[in-house]
């Protein structure tokens, strides 16, 4: 069903003028708009269908929890998105299905229900798991280069770029 639906929408988009112009660079679409002959159309549909399956279902999680108001729900979403799951470290607490992530989500939920502030919840977790649990590390001597390194790199590159252009112009 979703497959057919996706196919329909995509076809319409490709044949419309905006879509044609916009997607002209996609080979299959270009084929459709220019020659009305499509070589690997089905393959493309299949690809898009596969991508659709992997779109993260961010709101499935909140169904498990009942919030008194939208603000609490928003806080919960923000906190679980900003905190790292320590078991599977490239996922945040909202995404992870690890047992510890579930436990920590429950803790955060309970604390929100008990009117504990965001700051206190974060402090509670940092006290136990360290700064590593934060996806946005705090600014201190250890993380100084992490925060300012990229800016420094950008500035030196810009400086060098202008220096280079200036020299070329003179030559």
């Amino acid at each position: 069903m979703i497959y057919n639906w996706c196919q329909k929408i995509f076809k319409k988009f490709c044949h419309s003028r905006a879509g044609g112009n916009l997607l002209g660079w996609i080979p299959a679409c270009a084929g459709m708009t220019k020659n009305k002959k499509v070589i690997s159309q089905h393959r493309l549909y299949r690809l898009i269908f596969i991508f659709l399956i992997f779109i993260p279902n961010a709101y499935a999680l909140e169904d498990l929890y009942r919030f008194n108001n939208a603000r609490e729900q928003k806080r919960f979403e923000q906190l679980t998105n900003e905190l790292r799951c320590l078991v599977c470290q490239n996922q945040n607490l909202a995404e992870s299905n690890a047992a510890l992530a579930v436990d920590l989500r429950n803790q955060i939920y309970n604390k929100i229900q008990h009117d504990v502030s965001d700051q206190e919840i974060i402090e509670y977790l940092v006290e136990r798991y360290g700064d590593f649990i934060l996806y946005r590390p705090p600014l201190n001597t250890v993380t100084f280069s992490l925060w300012f390194g990229p800016i420094l790199l950008l500035l030196t590159s810009i400086f060098y770029l202008f220096y280079y252009i200036h020299r070329k112009k003179r030559a």
């Binding site: 078991v87 136990r128 798991y129 360290g130 590593f132």
Partner: protein, 182 residues
């Protein structure tokens, strides 16, 4: 300026070299070992039932008065089975108290495990919900905390214990603690 021109080609090489050093070091980093912020602090307080004597309770006060290894384990944890043999050997150590924290487990299974494989622990706390473990910053099993006589956390080992880990990480700390007491 002329000198600069002649050595200019080295600059990318230097940048490449720096990059290589960082990447090479990165190969041997262990990001799954998260340093515990609890080191140097006293043991988080807790109140739990004992696994073997469910009518009795245990708390952080049981950790005071001796050098303690607090070992977090569970029957569903494969690596815990790996380290179990070593823990049994360690239970003969006269200066150490081996304290178990049974994490998110089933009491019957846990008791059966200790009865069949042998019980290295002097005392085991039973934490079926894992709430106490969260207070200790546990994020995986097995984890082992080393506490001094005052009940202050001095070190944390993540992963299974073995003779190698003992010699490299634990024994030096225990020696240091013994020196402090002497």
């Amino acid at each position: 300026m002329k000198v600069f021109k002649s050595i200019r080609f080295i600059i990318p090489l230097i940048i490449f070299g720096i990059l290589i050093v960082f990447l090479w070091r990165g190969l041997f980093l262990k990001p799954n070992l998260v340093p515990s912020p609890l080191i140097g602090k006293s043991a988080p307080s807790f109140q739990l039932h004992q696994l073997m004597e469910p009518t009795l309770k245990t708390s952080q006060k049981d950790l005071i008065g001796h050098i303690t290894l607090l070992n977090v384990w569970a029957t569903w944890c494969v690596a815990c089975k790996v380290e179990h043999g070593f823990l049994l050997k360690l239970s003969n150590h006269r200066d150490l108290m081996l304290y178990g924290l049974n994490y998110k487990d089933d009491a019957t299974k846990a008791k059966e495990w200790l009865n069949t494989l042998g019980n290295p622990y002097q005392m085991v706390a039973f934490d079926p919900t894992g709430e106490v473990a969260i207070d200790w910053g546990v994020y995986g099993t097995p984890e082992t905390f080393i506490l001094d006589k005052k009940g202050i956390i001095r070190h944390k080992v993540i992963g299974p214990l073995s003779m190698e880990v003992w010699e490299r990480e634990i024994q030096p700390i225990i020696r240091k603690l013994q020196m402090e007491d002497a």
